[in-house]
Structure formats: structure tokens, C-alpha cells
């Protein structure tokens, strides 16, 4: 039972069977037949203003919902514009399927108009990629792409489709099975290893849970909470894992690493057992590797065997899906725990950790009577959102202050470019997240630099009536670079001043919605409330202290217990 259908229609049919409801994209010459067929399909298309933002918006969609996201671009420049968004998804293990058009098969290799070697260019930007030149292969390839993107360690998959495939006709036979002999996914975890791990957790005197993006990706926050409570260890989450354990959970001691909390880093230094769950011991977390957690044994659970032992040797590796492994660990923990008795070491450990938290709390108020401190801005956003809003960010100082100071009580609320650190991520990611969650408060916290990289998407917000609240933390600088120049290059500022920032009232007004600039602390709370309460998109430009620096800070390559906690006092001030 088969039907003669165009390649474009077959593609849409396959997408529908994968449950796709939205494509973020931008059309062009070779994808016109696909866009033509889309007119008759129930699948929605969101026309972004740059292909990079199609990939970022698809990521916002994925990161806020857990569903696979789809983006689409034409051949040549369309495809090359996608690349940053793909690498970004690769680094943060975000499942997106990218569809690109390619010149007709018979023109491939002839430097045809808008031809680029998309398959070659995106080889290292994707988990896997395909070039489809034969219409009969299309259905299986699409289903393989979705399966690969969303299983094992998730990631982006690109399917490059020639124009003749879009235009050609074939008898469409629905695919019911796919064949990937080289693709292996280990989910269950080794039973013996799981038992040994649980034993180690209960025997440790100073255990600590180090949880990351893997917990969010595998939708296993509940399983994480159960495990943390059974072990009763302090828990840090990486910048990718914020919200995996509720910020308000008593065992949560914030984020570790370069701009992590004092308590988190000291605990990482002092622990005797790291329970690493869906993390990759990134250099931004570990600082200098040979002085990272020098007294600790390591239990490392990850679905990707290549992560285990990559940066830090694992004393007890478990390869598996956290969603499957953590409940098994908890079951063994619950079984063994009664036999363990009073854990006096653990009590002393908690006392120590609490002392560190009190010594240098991350969330202590920083305000000024006449300037808006960046920390003040984040604290107000935190107060008003109470751990419940979706917050996206760009990359830089504002990102670190957001991660430090805004609480996230659920996963999939905090959306940022963790691994690649792509400026311009915040606005398009918020666009995708808002599209997928029309009833949620979605805030994009942007730097004045990053905002200007994705500014054209303001049109998309207005176009689709997307309620994104864009908050620009405007320090007039490429702040994070300026901070490094100040601290490590004798304050010789080179190309970090951002003058000529536009008047946001006029800018937002030009697109048809409201914008406002504030610079006095007295206006902060009301301005945020107004932004959150006004229907439709809103652009709020908050002028903050230009030269504030993010602390604590572990200088690049430094040891994590040697944090710089506060700005060095200038000699004059004494």
C-alpha cells in the first residue's frame, strides 16, 4: 500500500510521524519546493530573521520542552549560517534535527550557485549527518536522524537534501524499522558497579553530588532528588544543570567552578567522594585539573562512555542512562542504609559546608544608592520570578550573575549556551522557548553586546506575538572581556567599549512594542513588574555599574580552592 508523493511531502509526512509541530527556519532557492508543500501541512513554521537564530530558537524549544527541535535552511549561505547553532547544540548535547537544501544532484561539485559542501562542513558540528541524493532513502534517513538526535547522548543531526529529492516523486512506504548496526547505546548500568557505588556513597565521610546537564537531558530530577536525600550529600549543579535539583532544596549549595560559590568550590576541594552525574568535568568547573578534588574518589555515571575518564579518572565508572541508573542506585542505598548506622563523619562534613556557605554566601545583597548594581538587577528578577520563570541568557558577565543569583526550582527553566558560550544565544532561544510555552513567563537576559548580535529577532517576537521579556544588562562594555583585561592585562582595555547603543524606546517602538531604559535603583522593581505584566514583547534596557566584576572567580588554570572572592582593594582606598 503505497502512494506516489513528492520528496517534500514525504519529508513532511516523516516529520509529522516524529511528532514535529514546529519548524524554525528560513527559505531559499532550493528549499522552495519544501516550503510550497508546507503550505498544505499542519506543521507550523516560524520565520526567524537569520539561520543561526533558527538553530538557537530550535534549541530554546528543545531545552524548555524536552522534545526534539527542528530547524531548516537553504543551501550555501543558509546552511553555513546554521553552523554556530549546530556546534552549540553539539557542545550542550541538545537534540535538534536540521534540514538543509542542497543544489540538484547533477550540479553537486560544480560550484553551482549557492552550493556549499554542507555535509563536509557540518561533519564535526553534528552528532551525525546525511546527504540525501536518492528520494527512496529519505524516509529512513529522517527517522534515523530523529532516533540518533534523541537517544544516547543527544545531539544535533543534519540532513542535507538535494533539490531534485524535494521535487521528485516516489512511492511512499512508511518506514517501520531502522538499521544502525554501528550505533550503540548503553542505558542500564552494570548491576555490580551500581551496588559498589551505593556502598561507596554510604561509606564516604565527605560525599558530594556533582550533577550536570545530563540530569536535565534525561528528565531525571526526581530521581536525582531521591538519591541526594538518601546519601544526604551536599549537591552542586553545573551551569548546565541548574534546576536539576531545586535551588531551594536544603542540600543545594549552588554552582561550582570559575564563578561558582565559595562553598561549592571548597566542598569540591575537600570532598572524599564525588558522585558525578551527567557531567563532563569541564575546565570551567575543575580549574587546574591536578589540584581539583585531590582527596576524592570519583563515581562517574554517564551515558557517553567517552566522557568517563576523559578529564578526571573515574574510580568507579557506570555507563548508563541516569533515568535508569539513579533509581537502581537509590534502591540499593535504601536497602543498605539501615545497616550503616550513624554517620558521624557526614555530620561534621555538613557543619563544615554550612560554615563555608555562611562565610561567603553567594546571594548576599549588593546595592548602591545611585547605581543599579548588576547583582541587584538579578536579585530583583529572582525575587519576582521565585524560581519559576524560564530564563535564557547570552554569554558574559550577565550570564554568570544570572546563574549565581536567580534561583531555578525546576529543570528546563534556565537556558544558556554553556559549552560553546555563543553570544547572541539569549534572544532567539527565548523566542523558541516562548513559542513552545505560550503561557509561561519567558525572560531573555542579554548583554548589551550579545543583544546586538541577535537584535533582528525583535521582529520575529512582534511578528508572532511572542511575549518574551528582553532585559538588557547594559554595562556599556563587553563586560566579561573587560573584566579579564582589567584583572589579567593591567586594565589595558582593548576593543571592549560598546558606544552608540540605540535608544531602546525608539528601537522597540519601531518594531511596534514597548521599550524602556532605566538607570536608577528606585525604578528597578517597578520597571521589571511593568515589563512582566505588559502583554506582548517588552524591551527593558537596564543601565548598570559599568565596571562591576563577577566574583568569586577562579582565574583560568587556577586551583578551585584559590578563588578570588572580591575585587582587589585599590591602594588609594586605604
Amino acid at each position: 500500500m503505497s502512494q506516489l508523493m513528492s520528496g517534500s511531502k514525504i519529508l513532511l509526512e516523516c516529520l509529522a510521524r516524529e511528532g514535529v509541530d514546529t519548524i524554525f527556519g528560513y527559505p531559499g532557492g532550493v528549499t522552495i519546493p519544501f516550503y510550497d508543500a508546507m503550505l498544505d501541512s499542519p506543521i507550523q513554521h516560524v520565520l526567524v530573521r537569520h539561520e543561526q537564530n533558527a538553530a538557537f530558537a530550535a534549541q530554546g524549544y528543545v531545552r524548555s520542552t524536552g522534545k526534539v527541535g527542528v530547524c531548516c535552511a537553504t543551501s550555501g549561505p543558509g546552511a553555513t549560517n546554521l553552523v554556530t547553532g549546530l556546534v552549540d547544540a553539539m557542545m550542550d548535547s541538545i537534540p535538534i534535527v536540521a534540514i538543509t537544501g542542497q543544489v540538484p544532484t547533477k550540479l553537486i561539485g560544480s560550484d553551482a550557485f549557492q552550493e556549499a559542501d554542507t555535509f563536509g562542513i557540518t561533519r564535526s558540528a553534528t552528532k551525525h549527518n546525511y546527504l540525501v541524493k536518492n528520494i527512496n532513502e529519505l524516509p529512513a534517513v529522517i527517522h534515523e536522524a530523529f532516533y540518533i538526535a534523541n537517544s544516547g547522548r543527544p545531539g544535533p543531526v543534519l540532513v542535507d537534501i538535494t533539490k531534485d529529492v524535494f521535487q521528485g516523486n516516489a512511492h511512499y512506504v512508511p518506514v517501520t524499522s531502522i538499521h544502525l548496526p554501528g550505533y550503540k547505546v548503553y542505558t542500564e548500568g552494570h548491576t555490580g558497579q551500581i551496588r559498589r557505588a551505593a556502598q561507596m556513597m554510604l561509606e564516604a565521610e565527605r560525599p558530594m553530588v556533582y550533577a550536570g546537564g545530563g540530569v536535565v537531558l534525561s528528565n531525571s530530577s526526581d530521581e536525582l532528588r531521591e538519591l541526594v536525600e538518601l546519601v544526604d550529600a551536599p549537591c552542586v549543579t553545573t551551569v548546565m544543570g541548574l534546576g536539576a535539583l531545586a535551588a531551594d532544596h536544603p542540600n543545594f549549595i549552588s554552582m561550582p567552578g570559575m564563578h561558582g560559590s565559595y562553598a561549592a568550590n571548597m566542598a569540591m576541594y575537600g570532598t572524599d567522594l564525588i558522585i558525578a552525574l551527567g557531567v563532563r568535568f569541564d575546565d570551567r568547573v575543575t580549574g587546574r585539573l591536578n589540584s581539583f578534588a585531590p582527596h576524592a574518589r570519583v563515581i562517574h555515571v554517564d551515558i557517553d562512555p567517552a566522557e568517563i575518564g576523559k578529564n578526571r579518572n573515574a574510580d568507579l565508572p557506570i555507563v548508563g542512562d541516569l533515568k535508569r541508573v539513579m533509581p537502581k542506585l537509590s534502591a540499593v542505598l535504601a536497602e543498605l542504609k539501615p545497616g550503616i548506622g550513624e554517620r558521624t563523619g557526614l555530620k561534621a562534613w555538613w557543619k563544615q559546608v554550612r560554615a563555608w556557605m555562611d562565610e561567603h554566601p553567594l546571594r548576599k545583597p549588593v546595592t548602591s544608592p545611585d547605581e543599579i548594581k548588576p547583582q541587584h538587577l538579578m536579585a530583583e528578577i529572582d525575587r519576582l520570578t521565585n524560581g519559576e520563570a524560564i530564563v535564557t541568557s547570552d554569554v558574559g558577565q550577565h550570564q554568570m550573575w544570572s546563574a549565581q543569583l536567580i534561583r531555578f526550582n525546576k529543570p528546563r527553566l534556565w537556558i544558556n549556551s554553556g559549552g560553546l558560550g555563543s553570544m547572541g544565544f539569549g534572544l532567539p532561544a527565548a523566542l523558541g522557548a516562548q513559542y513552545a510555552n505560550p503561557d509561561k513567563l519567558v525572560i531573555a537576559i542579554c548583554g548589551d553586546g550579545g543583544f546586538q548580535m541577535s537584535l533582528p529577532e525583535l521582529a520575529t517576537l512582534q511578528n508572532y506575538g511572542l511575549n518574551v521579556k528582553v532585559i538588557i544588562m547594559n554595562n556599556g562594555y563587553l563586560g566579561m572581556v573587560r573584566q579579564w583585561q582589567e584583572l589579567f592585562y593591567a586594565n589595558r582595555l582593548s576593543q571592549v567599549t560598546l558606544d552608540s547603543f540605540p535608544d531602546v524606546e525608539k528601537l522597540a517602538g519601531a518594531y511596534g512594542f514597548k521599550g524602556r531604559t532605566i538607570e536608577h535603583p528606585r525604578d528597578l522593581r517597578d520597571a521589571l513588574k511593568e515589563a512582566f505584566d505588559t502583554p506582548g514583547p517588552y524591551l527593558l534596557n537596564v543601565r548598570v555599574t559599568p565596571t562591576e566584576n563577577v566574583f568569586p572567580m577562579v582565574p583560568a588554570g587556577g586551583a578551585i580552592n584559590e578563588m578570588v572572592l572580591a575585587p582587589p582593594q585599590p591602594a588609594m582606598a586605604r
Partner: protein, 183 residues
């Protein structure tokens, strides 16, 4: 130190690029790479000789195993295995050294595949060091031109023995309904 990696991979467009891309992305220079179809025409066997720091080796194998087109990557460097290479050589020889050259060829088990008034074309196989030695010796007889085939290796561990077809089919077919319930 040189690492010998044996790969079983799908015989598909781009599969070779994925493997070499993994190596070049890490700045490794490939000493030799051979690839050809297996008894199952859908699969290829590849042998790579590459210089990798010892502590990176395991990591590299894991990354190769992660490639979707790779069924199995094995580090044969220290494993029970046989590594062989083939080379073709042209040697120019004067009349008076012809016999000596033929004698050397015999000692090394090298076959003469062509003979002209100017010299010989020779075909040699053996382990890599032996071929190096042969080249050194032949150099002493005069001008030579060498084309080396690159290392090919096979594991001698019995559990790694792969018959035809090397991988049972059907078992790992992934039913779509199992994975996401939409079909």
C-alpha cells in the same frame, strides 16, 4: 608512539571522512590508513597506524566507537595481533649487481614482478620493521622507488573472530514504535 587501530565500519559515503576527521581534529598525523570491503559488501575493514600519546589512546578508541558508522574499533597496539604491510619497489641495477639483488630478494621472501635491462620491480610483504630493513638494504644497491601499502592488521583474539557476515543482522534493528511511540 604508534598505535594500530582496527575498525569495522559501514561501507558508506562519508564514513572514511568521519574517522579521519576525528584524528585531524585532534591534530594527529596518520602514518598509514588502509581500507577495503569485507566479505559483507556493506562493511569495510580499516587499519590505521597513527602516532598518539599513550594517555589519549583509550579516549580515541571510545570516540571512534561513538561514530555512528563504526561497528567496532579495536586497539591492536598491545593486543595479540598480526600486522603486515605490502610494498612495491623498483630498483635500478647495474649488470654486475643483478645477482646480488636477486639473492637479497630471496632472503627476504620478496617476489620479482618485473625484470628489465635497467632493473627489477619487486613485491614484498612482511611486518613493518622488516620492510624498513629491506628498503635500507636495497638502497645500498642504487636508486629505488617505493610505494608502500600501509599497515593491515588482524586481531588474534578468538572472541574477535568475525565470520561472514561479520555482524548478525536483524538483532539490532530498532523498531520505531519502541523508541517513541509515534509510529
Amino acid at each position: 608512539m604508534q598505535q594500530i587501530i582496527s575498525l569495522l565500519l559501514e561501507n558508506k559515503t562519508g564514513a572514511l571522512m568521519r574517522v579521519t576527521g576525528l584524528l585531524t581534529a585532534r591534530g594527529y598525523n596518520i602514518d598509514s590508513l588502509t581500507v577495503a570491503r569485507t566479505l559483507d559488501p556493506e562493511l569495510s575493514r580499516m587499519t590505521i597506524a597513527v602516532d598518539v600519546e599513550p594517555h589519549q589512546r583509550r579516549q580515541l578508541i571510545k570516540h571512534m566507537n561513538k561514530l555512528i558508522n563504526v561497528l567496532q574499533a579495536t586497539d591492536l597496539t598491545d593486543a595479540p595481533s598480526v600486522t603486515r604491510e605490502m610494498l612495491l619497489m623498483r630498483v635500478r641495477s647495474a649488470q654486475e649487481t643483478r645477482t646480488a639483488i636477486l639473492k637479497e630478494a630471496e632472503i627476504f621472501g620478496v617476489r620479482v614482478v618485473d625484470s628489465t635491462l635497467e632493473g627489477f620491480a619487486l613485491e614484498a610483504t612482511g611486518d613493518i620493521e622488516k620492510l624498513d630493513e629491506f628498503i635500507d638494504i636495497m638502497r645500498s644497491y642504487g636508486e629505488i622507488e617505493v610505494t608502500r601499502g600501509g599497515a593491515v592488521a588482524v586481531s588474534l583474539e578468538s572472541k574477535k573472530l568475525r565470520l561472514s557476515p561479520p555482524v548478525p543482522r536483524g538483532a539490532e534493528e530498532t523498531r520505531l514504535e519502541e523508541k517513541n511511540g509515534v509510529i
